[in-house]
């Protein structure tokens, strides 16, 4: 069936099976492979994208549910080729190792900072509870989000 949605600002249409998950539409049909899959139980958060501005786990959304919606994936997160301050700070603070969790982590961080521009460390740790990172032990991720909050606050 036909699904039409805006991905990173571009309206695109796809003919997909009704059961197609949003993450598979993005990866296999739209060929945007920055969104990752690391579980099938909606726990890891590697598949996180913004759906109408809300961070969602795209493995738990059917593509048809996103019909008519706006999706932002990690590929569309840097504006005009310039890294977003959250991306910058993940880089500065070494908030990634293998990088597999990173796209989902960054988009979750974006939502966290939207809701709470000046989070405490505990609030950050709670805020990324739905995203698993097996490499970093989270500390540099927390540092990156804190630093990004400061950077975004300057704007």
């Amino acid at each position: 069936m036909e699904v039409s949605l805006s991905i990173n600002g571009e309206v695109r249409s796809f003919d997909v099976e009704p059961r197609t998950l949003l993450v598979h539409l993005l990866r296999d049909h739209a060929k945007l492979t920055g969104t990752h899959v690391a579980c099938e139980t909606s726990i890891c958060g590697a598949c996180t994208v913004l759906l109408d501005g809300q961070a969602v786990k795209s493995c738990t959304v059917l593509a048809v549910q996103a019909d008519g919606c706006e999706v932002t994936t990690i590929e569309g997160f840097a504006e005009d080729g310039k890294l977003h301050p959250i991306q910058e700070q993940f880089w500065e603070k070494h908030g990634l190792q293998c990088g597999f969790c990173t796209p989902g982590m960054i988009l979750t961080a974006y939502q966290l900072l939207e809701r709470n521009p000046d989070p405490s460390e505990a609030e950050i740790r709670r805020g990324i509870d739905g995203n698993i990172c097996r490499c970093t032990g989270y500390q540099h991720i927390v540092d990156a989000i804190q630093a990004a909050a400061v950077e975004l606050g300057k704007k």
């Binding site: 579980c39 990690i74 293998c98 990173t102 989270y138």
Partner: protein, 780 residues
């Protein structure tokens, strides 16, 4: 005016990683992101039983299913070799692990058939329709029951479930125990856990019938080993197989194996003449990717009343699973080698009985045998300290070899390169404010709060390692090329997967050649491009791989100096490298840039005496010994005996990894390691039921550490370089995991000491804590 040799500019600096921009933008390519035209998708039909006969495999339901291209069962794969194993001990029984099970399945998740389909969803649908008629049999799950007379057997052709016996004896433990004032004993279980790289395994195989060449993209830590073995398994020449590791989403040891699905995809791609892709699901990852740990043993230690250690014996059952993976057996022997830990222990003995069980194999998981050794030792150290009424820090300090005693020969037969164990412990205690912590503990108890302080001091064997000691292939390779335009390309045989060696190797070369780091490109993970290599595991990437880079770099430098000497009319020994140029030391106004010198070397119109054209050198670095990083970790935890809840209040670590190339990356490795080790201490454990079903095989059921589990880790270091390699670096990949597990458990047990608890098995889940506290009640 002579210039002083340049101080290192890049080595030792916390430089941010060059691999990050593409990862941050979602532009990095992991296996599943590679999209070849005409790719077929493979789904695996797996055993749903721990142990069963296979009566038949019925694929009739697939006959008219659209998109199904082929189905393979064991009968279709005659001639495909079994899964390779290595690192065996003498007289080990080595069961043949076929790529698809034939008459019998021996663990839940064992592959039975491979379904090939045009689409991924279609492959999954089709696999679900394959009807395997299993004949369930009693499974072997529990290690002790597995060895009981009359137990069902994992492999019918063996007399029993014993996989191997191995022992390590140093000194005379019997005599030592007889002389000891005090003997402490404890049964300790170190259960199975999953490595759980966030990217599951995956492989894309593409056979080119014209070139008669197979290309395999695999999420692996060991591309060259994979190439050697896959070529062998499917009967191709090694140089007709190319293995590429694209971006790899973590490994932690789990991807240093050669797995069945890799051979299947390779064979089937050649058979069908089309690319075949297989991406593991998370539940398959739980079932069919190796597990770590899996030891159940008893430790016994003899000591004097003053705390001097005399003898230690560790007798252990090792859970091998049904078949070995690449290093299953070797991992248990590593535990033996490190059983004396950082202490002067003149008499040690480790006896291992490997046991076959109806489970996936255990194999290397971050630390690989060494965390198990440290855990056992650090637990029994605390028990011993309590027994003789000595402070846990004191008993440890008392038994360290002094700094001046290095290289230190252990009773287990290793020679520790360098160390200052007391230095690391003192610093950790100071950073923790140990005395204050102890006071706080006493105060808290008056208020009915239970604080616990856990210590661990560890040493690990890293930088794997001398080839002879490893049973082959302990070296690593590198090639450094100064390109005609003056840029530098580094090719490494190591295969990093998150460690950041594109950055740290570039740091080494930038300082080595005196060039800007942005002019250096580092390439790894392509067997057609890089020199034959070994791979990344055992904290060897920088230590062994980086050493190869440095020496290859020195060789290029020497050659370049000869060309520079010719051009600048100077003596080669008078040539210096800095700022992207070569200078004459005694006449610094005479200089040339890299492009000029490279131009000479590649045009070769005129050659310096005895010099060949080109600027490219390769080095295979063979380490003369292992390296032995060490450290001390201190944990402050609060335990609520009423709920069993544990909160880690502080985590203080002092690690000594020798010289650090990039302290930012070192910290990242230690953080990640601590989280994994603490995860096992607090939450992680694989559970099989008595029928061999894995009952917590998803992230919904298997608890993995989240960010909220930890406080900020307070890291610090001491620096004791090694002379085993030119970097003076010891390796850092596993340190955190090794130090953290016992430190956390020791803290929890310490908190529960008023309840008379002296040991709890991991994970120290709330339920276990609550039971232990409730059973004993506070004993004043």
């Amino acid at each position: 005016m002579a210039k002083a040799p340049a101080a290192p500019k890049f080595i030792g600096s916390p430089i941010k990683r060059r691999e990050d921009p593409k990862l941050l933008r979602g532009l990095a390519r992991y296996v599943d992101d590679i999209d070849l035209p005409g790719t077929l998708h493979m789904a695996i039909v797996r055993s749903s039983f721990g142990r069963a006969g296979i009566r038949s495999v019925d694929i009739n339901a697939l006959t008219d299913l659209p998109g199904v291209v082929a189905v393979y069962t064991a009968a279709d794969l005659e001639g495909v070799g079994p899964v390779p194993v290595s690192g065996l001990v003498p007289d080990a029984r080595v069961p043949v692990q076929p790529v698809l099970a034939n008459k019998e399945v021996r663990f839940a998740g064992e592959p039975v058939a491979a379904v090939i389909c045009e689409t991924r969803y279609g492959a999954a649908d089709a696999a679900a329709l394959v009807d395997v008629d299993f004949e369930p049999k009693e499974a072997v799950v529990d290690l002790e029951k597995a060895l009981a007379p009359g137990a069902p057997k994992v492999h019918e052709d063996y007399d029993d479930n014993v996989a191997f016996n191995w022992e390590l004896v140093g000194g005379d433990v019997e005599k030592g125990l007889a002389e000891a004032d005090v003997i402490v004993k404890q049964k300790i279980v170190n259960g199975r856990v999953v490595p759980l790289a966030l990217e599951t395994r995956g492989v894309l195989a593409s056979y080119d019938p014209g070139e008669e060449k197979l290309t395999l993209w695999s999420s692996t830590q060991v591309p060259h080993k994979l190439r050697t073995h896959i070529a062998d398994q499917i009967g191709m020449a090694e140089n007709r197989v190319r293995v590429i590791t694209p971006e790899v989403g973590g490994g932690f040891g789990s991807k240093l194996n050669i797995y069945r699905e890799e051979a299947l995809a390779a064979y089937i791609s050649r058979d069908l003449g089309r690319p075949v892709k297989w991406i593991e699901s998370r539940s398959e990852n739980f079932l069919a990717t190796i597990h770590g740990r899996g030891q159940m043993g008893e430790v016994e230690m003899g000591l004097m009343k003053d705390g001097t250690l005399i003898a230690l014996r560790y007798t252990v059952l090792a859970d091998c699973g049904a078949y070995y993976q690449y290093l299953t057996v070797a991992i248990f022997t590593l535990t033996g080698l490190m059983i004396p830990g950082p202490y002067k222990l003149p008499n040690v003995e480790m006896k291992v009985t490997g046991v076959f069980t109806n489970k996936i194999a255990t194999d290397a998981y971050r630390g690989a045998g060494r965390p198990e050794a440290t855990y056992v030792l650090e637990r029994i150290m605390d028990i011993a300290a309590a027994e003789i009424g000595m402070d846990p820090a004191e008993i440890r300090r008392k038994n360290f070899p002094a700094k001046s005693e290095f290289p230190f020969a252990t009773a287990a037969g290793l020679s520790y390169d360098s160390g200052d164990y007391a230095g690391a412990l003192d610093k950790a205690l100071e950073n923790a404010g140990y005395a204050d912590m102890r006071r706080e503990q006493v105060e808290a108890r008056k208020e009915g709060r239970y604080l616990g302080i856990g210590l661990s001091t560890y040493v690990e064997v890293c930088g794997m390692g001398p080839s002879a000691a490893l049973g082959g292939q302990g070296w690593e390779s590198a090639r450094v090329r100064v390109e005609p335009g003056g840029k530098v390309t580094v090719f490494s045989g190591a295969s990093p997967h998150g460690q950041g060696q594109k950055t740290s190797f570039a740091q080494l070369v930038a300082d080595g050649l005196g060039v800007d780091i942005n002019n250096i490109e580092v390439i790894h993970g392509d067997t057609d491009t890089v020199p034959f290599g070994v791979g990344t595991f055992g904290s060897r990437g920088t230590v062994v791989g980086g050493s190869a880079v440095v020496i290859a770099c020195d060789k290029v430098k020497e050659k370049m100096a000869r060309y520079a000497a010719m051009k600048l009319e100077a003596d080669a020994s008078d040539i210096e490298f800095a700022g992207g140029k070569v200078y004459v030391r005694s006449a610094p106004e005479k200089s040339a840039d890299f492009a000029e010198i490279a131009g000479l070397a590649y045009s070769a119109m005129e050659l310096p005496p005895g010099t060949d054209p080109g600027l490219e050198e390769t080095h295979f670095f063979e380490p003369p010994n292992f390296t032995f990083p060490f450290g001390a970790h201190v944990v402050l935890a609060e335990v609520d005996p009423a709920t069993g809840d544990v909160k880690i209040l502080r985590y203080v670590a002092v690690d000594d990894v020798g010289n650090q190339i990039n302290p930012l990356l070192v910290a990242g490795q230690i953080h990640g390691g601590i989280a994994q080790g603490a995860g096992q201490a607090l939450e992680e454990e694989i559970l099989y039921d008595t029928g061999g079903q894995l009952i917590n095989g998803s992230l919904m059921h298997y608890s993995l550490p989240k960010a909220g589990l930890f406080p900020r880790f307070e890291l610090d270091h001491t620096t004791t370089p090694t002379d085993v390699n030119p970097l003076g670096a010891k390796g850092v990949g596993e340190a955190g995991t090794i130090g953290s597990t016992p430190a956390v458990v020791n803290a929890v047990v310490d908190a529960l000491s008023p309840f008379g608890v002296r040991h709890l098995d991991m994970p120290v889940r709330p339920e276990r804590i609550w039971r232990a506290a409730a059973a004993k009640g506070e004993q004043g």
